[in-house]
Symmetry: C3
């Protein structure tokens, strides 16, 4: 139950290497060297069945995982983990963030996310800062049931918002699940806006020709005309297709009365799936990103719960989707990533979604709907 502190900049603690293990599980912390990875701290957690890496240097994102021989994550052309010291967000007309984009779970935010845009006179490059801020505090704790990695990442600058991410990433021994428990706090002296997008990204084997995204849908709008073209098969994925142009769909999901809901990405034969579980009261929006390009170009789908949609911040403000936090106020969110690898388990979660869907008939907008999207209106 001891908490092993790996980084604590205020107390000048930093461990270059760290390793603990038992018969079934282990945790291994390394600092990578060379290439664009130079200086990246990586914490590799193996719970006995599910192994995954946490990246303190990249805002406590979850890099890649492996469950029972299956890769959980994707192959990005940006080969990481990339040290933020090599990333300049303003490059490439404001899409410099992509240089480091290869995580399975990367947080976009916290003061804004979405496409590069102007908010008044302020230029906001793609997807915000949090993924490129190294954690100021990192610890590992193992108790009788699970491994926990904690981190604190401050997105805070003079004359800007001051938003703290406190995250606890838990995984029970030999389980098929990672649970991410995030608390976002306004550590500044004045009210701040906040938005976050959990950009969860999967390639093969969960994504393949015939894979499906199963969701309990209340409303859905294609992001733009390009996505509208793909409306007939929005929930089904193509094989890798060189030159495919990305499509995004914005969802309002249904949930149980508690707010609990889920999203399932299942493979073609329906014997493998990734399940995201979260609470609509904490995380009300959901975005699907289809990017079934050539394998080498980043064959991937993003399934992305968020407090808002990845539109320009000014648009999300207008729609009332930015979270306002008073000084000291916190917003908590829990998101779990679960892997199942049998037909039976996949059917079970698909039924779970069908059950929720019964509450209401889904509403699909055939053209980009102005409530959801800033594009093409």
């Amino acid at each position: 139950m001891k908490k092993h502190i790996l980084t604590d900049v205020e107390n000048r603690i930093w461990e270059e290497d760290f390793y603990i293990s038992s018969e079934n599980w282990n945790v291994n912390k390394k600092t990578l060297r060379g290439g664009l990875q130079d200086g990246v701290d990586i914490i590799e957690v193996n719970n006995g069945a599910f192994s995954f890496s946490v990246l303190p240097t990249r805002g406590m994102g979850i890099w890649k995982g492996k469950f029972c021989g299956c890769d959980v994550g994707w192959n990005s052309p940006s080969k990481g983990p990339v040290n933020p010291k090599f990333v300049s967000l303003t490059e490439r007309n404001g899409i410099g963030w992509l240089k480091g984009f290869d995580e399975m779970l990367v947080r976009c935010g916290l003061s804004y996310h979405g496409q590069p845009s102007y908010d008044g006179e302020d230029f906001l490059p793609l997807h915000g800062k949090i993924a490129n801020i190294p954690a100021k505090f990192v610890s590992v704790e193992v108790d009788d049931e699970k491994i926990s990695v904690e981190g604190i990442v401050d997105e805070a600058e003079m004359f800007g918002p001051q938003i703290r991410l406190y995250t606890r990433i838990e995984s029970e021994f030999c389980s098929n699940k990672i649970t991410v428990i995030d608390e976002i706090e306004n550590i500044g002296g004045t009210e701040t806006e906040m938005e976050i997008l959990y950009h969860c990204n999967f390639g093969e084997p969960f994504l393949e020709k015939g894979s499906k995204l199963v969701l309990p849908i209340q409303e859905m709008s294609p992001r733009n005309e390009e996505a509208a073209k793909g409306l007939n098969s929005f929930d089904t994925y193509d094989a890798p297709t060189p030159g495919y142009e990305e499509q995004c769909f914005f969802y309002k999901l249904l949930s149980r009365s508690t707010g609990k809901t889920l999203a399932v990405l299942k493979n073609s034969s329906g014997n493998k799936a990734v399940i995201l579980r979260f609470n609509k009261k904490e995380i009300p929006c959901f975005t699907q990103w289809k990017n079934t390009v050539a394998e080498n170009d980043g064959y991937v789908t993003g399934i992305e719960p968020g407090t808002s949609y990845p539109n320009p911040r000014a648009f999300e403000r207008e729609k009332g989707r930015l979270k306002k936090l008073a000084p000291g106020e916190k917003h908590s969110m829990t998101l779990s990533i679960e892997i199942v690898d049998s037909k039976k388990e996949v059917e079970k979660v698909v039924n779970e979604i069908a059950e929720i869907q019964k509450k209401k008939k889904r509403k699909i907008y055939e053209t980009p709907n102005a409530k959801f999207t800033a594009v093409g209106n």
Copy 2:
């Protein structure tokens, strides 16, 4: 009297750790790891009474100090010391410099400083480069009376100005004073312009409700309309005020016939003060920055001797305030920071200023004066 060389890139010398001490004093050099501090070299000097940190990685700025239990410095939302590898000056529409701004003394310059502006077609982001250039040479020397830290920082790039800062930061054993002796040299082959602003920043306990900035004033102009609103109480500070909008005042100070002058920031009850001493012949301009925002947002005042005002470089050029340096030419400046903590000592320096003020009646411009400021005219 030995000079301990901690960094000398030409000769491939670099010490990760260094420590020397005697009964009363000590000097401790560390390289910080983790967070935004990762890789920052810090030299902690304790003269027996006054302790302070020098940051070779951040252009030989002085981070924070402590004198007889008093914090000397301020609490910025930007928690540093931040490694320049994580700072991109062009971010946030050109105010990316703020990401690393939390020093007690940070030099702005050397080829320009001030608000982001265009000089012809050249975009100049906030406050210049020098604070984000690691020193190429660093040494520590201790003699019978004092501790000295020397550094060389080159602001020099192909097809740009080549300006060297040579600094010597001295502090006598058990003294209440740090002396910064700077020499700026044009190491290029053609004439260059130069300007520098010594951005000295203090929060509590020197800054509090009722604190006063005492100066021997020849002329003063508010920077803009916002500052003009605060003219009636320009020399007095408020308690932390959430949402306070910063005010700047530009001064031409009076001095003794030798050019020697001083600025005093004293607390409310007048038993604590920071004293800056410098020579008007070397450093002719003075800027006061009032930023009495909420504590968490960076409650601070900047008292800033400089060779010019933090206006756009094009404006300062027009006013003849840029220093021109021929190849090999040097400009030397000495600035001391002194802490006093008794009513008697505070009164003494306040009287010293009153004595200088007798030379001439001060002239306060009630609206932004075009001689001083580029804003609001």
Copy 3:
């Protein structure tokens, strides 16, 4: 014949220090610390007669050399080798690349090079990315005849071109020659454009008043009006001249029927020369950069074989000079740098060029020619 792997990020190999030697030669790998050099990996090769440094951290460029007491390279105001972590390409209106520019051989490219420009809406800062990307793989091999340094540098980002540089830098024991064997591969899933410029830079003693650039010329155009002014003495160099404005000349060279050609920079008395050898079929273009400014300002000439000219990419595309690579397609190039230091050897290579020149009379355009240059038309 063993291959010593110094960096292999995929397999988490990275050697901080490495040294091998025999009686006559040695190879020494260090990681530099402090200043702008902090964290730069440098491989110093001494073949017994010619010593030079390879910079894995800067895209496998060749930093500086020394042959029989002669410096091979130049003195840039940008004192390197500069770690890319301190370089922001978009700074200084898009010429941020210059902050790290002090190599003897620096590759510009790979998806574009040349002056900052817009290609459609995309802003492309100076000279591309490859020089500021750390190698992901680095090895050293020594066989019975030579020392070889290999490296792999990936210029690859999500939603961008994915271009791999595989380079092998060879030097025979006690030889006067470095051979750079580059293979550029499209590792993406869709066709990509590619261009590369081998920016080879020399100052004293090869460059001095009266030095000459000897080339087998088919056609030549000055880059702009400024260069056109220098047309009468395009092949001859001035002494260091404070305030000299750079001149560029674009060449189509003649070659032997095999495509083999060469460029010779010889000193004033004709007893020292740098010889570049390459194949026009692989590297069809050639640029001369005259920058005979004051010594401290970077007295240098660039002699620059390339697949295209350093014009805006949109212009080079229009002229059909961008190389198109299908997925998996490779383009190979070999470039050697040879130093000679006797009148006899210099005369021999000058004759070699004269022999090639006999094939055709050279065509010199007196004004910037629209086939060659985007400037001033």
